[in-house]
């Protein structure tokens, strides 16, 4: 068994024991945001595209899933799939528009379109505007297992997270992932080698949007609500920060970043606007002095020591 497998195995054991030690609700929120950040990292870290509107996928899937579970009474797995599909469709539309421009414009276009989705959610009748969709039922998994207990729900969320994470891991290490990385490193060269760059970017965008949606939909069932907060530009900023703090382009970085940010929000929730100020300051510090992020810095140190030993 190599070190990576051992590491993932140990993490899985920790995740299986965690709900018996910590609060399942908090852990579920953490897993959902970790998956969200991993999905986002697929774009920024492995394709080099900064989407500043990922909340639109997270939020719209949250609404779609909440509607399916509450109004139509669908079972959780189908409701989550429905949410994922909705965000993938939105991802396809937004992606088609956004890949037409590069770099900084890409960020501005995704931000503007996500604001459009936000205003749509403010006005649409089925989102209940300021109130959001509240007390969303978890229903029975496959119509058999009742998820009312937080512990049952936790393991369901963990399964979704592991599935999503494994998929992202697979994508990154596939030939397709290699092409994405080559686009990140040198788009012009990838194009000259005959790769249809825009097509690859679009597929990566849709995958990322769908996975972000899956995270949003799962969050809705775990916490029982979908609100306007899920679609705001602040939420898009949060996921950027999680990824930046954990380490862009590292595989476990976003999970670590999400853990730090979710824990911080939890402990500082009584301080109101201080949360925003601290998040903003973290952004500034990360960009100025800590661009590799926590995991990136860690990997860099290990690599340096290994090379120094030779």
């Amino acid at each position: 068994m190599n070190k990576t497998t051992m590491f993932y195995g140990a993490m899985l054991v920790v995740a299986l024991v965690a709900p018996f030690v910590g609060y399942p609700l908090f852990l579920m929120k953490l897993l959902c945001f970790a998956l969200f950040a991993c999905a986002f990292n697929l774009l920024i870290g492995f394709t080099g595209l900064l989407s500043f509107g990922h909340a639109m996928f997270f939020g719209s899937a949250a609404y779609a899933c909440a509607h399916a579970a509450k109004v139509w009474g669908w079972t959780p797995e189908v409701a989550i799939l429905f949410g994922t599909a909705c965000s993938a469709v939105i991802g396809a539309i937004v992606g088609t528009l956004a890949v037409r421009r590069q770099g900084i414009y890409f960020a501005m276009i995704t931000l503007a379109l996500s604001q459009m989705i936000y205003f749509f959610c403010v006005q649409a009748p089925f989102t209940y505007a300021e109130d959001g969709i509240q007390s969303v039922p978890r229903n029975k998994l496959l119509g058999l297992i009742d998820l009312k207990s937080d512990l049952h729900m936790y393991f369901f969320v963990l399964a979704i997270f592991v599935g999503g994470f494994a998929l992202i891991h697979r994508i990154i290490h596939s030939p397709f992932g290699q092409v994405l990385k080559s686009i990140r490193e040198n788009e012009a060269r990838a194009l000259s080698l005959g790769y249809d760059v825009d097509r690859y970017k679009l597929v990566a965008f849709i995958l990322s949007a769908g996975l972000a949606g899956m995270a949003g939909a799962t969050k809705t069932l775990a916490l029982g609500l979908a609100t306007l907060t899920d679609v705001t530009w602040q939420m898009s900023g949060e996921v950027v920060l999680m990824t930046l703090l954990g380490g862009m382009g590292t595989i476990v970085g976003p999970v670590v970043g999400a853990g730090v940010i979710v824990a911080m929000q939890n402990y500082l929730s009584g301080f109101g606007s201080w949360v925003t100020i601290i998040m903003g300051a973290t952004f500034v510090v990360c960009v100025l002095a800590f661009r590799r992020g926590i995991v990136g810095e860690f990997e860099y140190r290990i690599l340096k020591r290994r090379n120094g030993g030779h």
């Binding site: 900064l50 500043f52 528009l97 956004a98 037409r100 421009r101 770099g103 900084i104 414009y105 960020a107 501005m108 276009i109 931000l111 503007a112 379109l113 604001q115 459009m116 205003f119 749509f120 403010v122 006005q123 530009w233 900023g237 950027v240 930046l244 109101g272 606007s273 201080w274 949360v275 925003t276 100020i277 998040m279 903003g280 300051a281 973290t282 952004f283 500034v284 990360c286 960009v287 100025l288 661009r291």
Partner: protein
């Protein structure tokens, strides 16, 4: 009373002037963004926050120090420009060698901090800024009543926009600036202090945002969120117009303000999203933007 497509002329004109006033703010802000992007290659996410700071400065000057509107029209943008100098000298200048994205992320963080600080001290609800005596009441144009302050905002903003255009496109200073945008190393070799020029460009760009903030203070409530709500629309304006041309930013800003005003009259539900819809259409038809050239 006469009507146009079932809407009374007075109501239509009222919305159009509001649209024009908004368009002026879009123009001033996207102009500043374009000037900064040209020289620093950074998209200044903090632009909206600094616009809000400009509005708050003028509100503070009036309410804490009794300084009237006319002085704050000069002082508040200068204050914002001073903040700009500090930001550029202490933070942005370390980022020029890196990917453009880091500039966006850093200024986004600054915007969060600024908004958070003002929300901490002033709450989310806005503060009203009393209109100066001269501007109270409307002007009778025969077919409509035009509030004096709106007329002033339009005239003053257009003057500032065109002055900026003139300086950049027609004067020697502007020629240095344009040359610096094209090839900073060469310009430096000619003995021009490029780092100073970059600092002043950033200060000037955010100063414009501060100026727009002072102008906006009597129109809207002075609130911590006023910056973030306008900056996203301004980004869409910038995508539509393309950041390559000064005149393009001005025309696109004004035009979109007017379109927004018209939408408010004929189809109010879409008034918040119309700019984004136009952006999507422009991206499909002309990806480089109306005035942009694809590099």
């Amino acid at each position: 009373m006469s009507e146009i497509f079932g809407v009374p002329v007075q109501a239509l004109m009222g919305q159009l002037t509001i649209g024009l006033v908004n368009g002026c703010f879009y123009a001033l802000l996207s102009l500043g963004l374009a000037v900064i992007f040209g020289m620093l290659n950074i998209v200044n996410f903090a632009h909206g926050a600094l616009y809000m700071v400009g509005a708050f400065f003028s509100w503070m000057l009036l309410n804490y120090a009794g300084v009237n509107y006319w002085y704050s029209l000069i002082l508040a943008p200068l204050g914002v420009a001073a903040i700009g100098v500090v930001i550029e000298r202490t933070m942005l200048k370390w980022l020029y060698q890196l990917d453009h994205l880091y500039g966006l992320l850093l200024t986004f963080g600054l915007a969060l901090v600024t908004e958070g600080v003002f929300r901490h001290y002033y709450g989310s609800s806005g503060q009203p800024y009393d209109l100066p005596e001269v501007f109270r009441g409307p002007i009778d144009l025969g077919f409509m009543m035009l509030p004096k302050y709106r007329a002033w905002v339009v005239v003053a903003s257009l003057l500032v926009c065109f002055a900026t255009w003139y300086v950049i496109e027609k004067t020697k200073l502007g020629a240095y600036l344009r040359a610096g945008t094209e090839n900073p190393k060469l310009v430096q070799a000619f003995g021009i202090n490029v780092p100073l020029m970059i600092t002043l460009t950033y200060a000037f760009g955010v100063g414009l945002a501060g100026f727009a903030g002072v102008m906006a203070a009597p129109v809207y409530l002075v609130a911590p969120t006023m910056g973030s709500s306008i900056i996203i629309v301004v980004f869409a304006v910038v995508v539509i117009g393309g950041m390559g041309s000064i005149m393009g930013s001005i025309v696109t800003g004004l035009g979109l303000g007017l379109i927004e005003g018209l939408t408010k009259v004929y189809y109010p539900e879409a008034s918040t999203t119309v700019v984004f819809v136009i952006m999507a259409i422009v991206l499909m038809v002309r990806p480089a933007g109306l005035f942009g050239k694809e590099k």
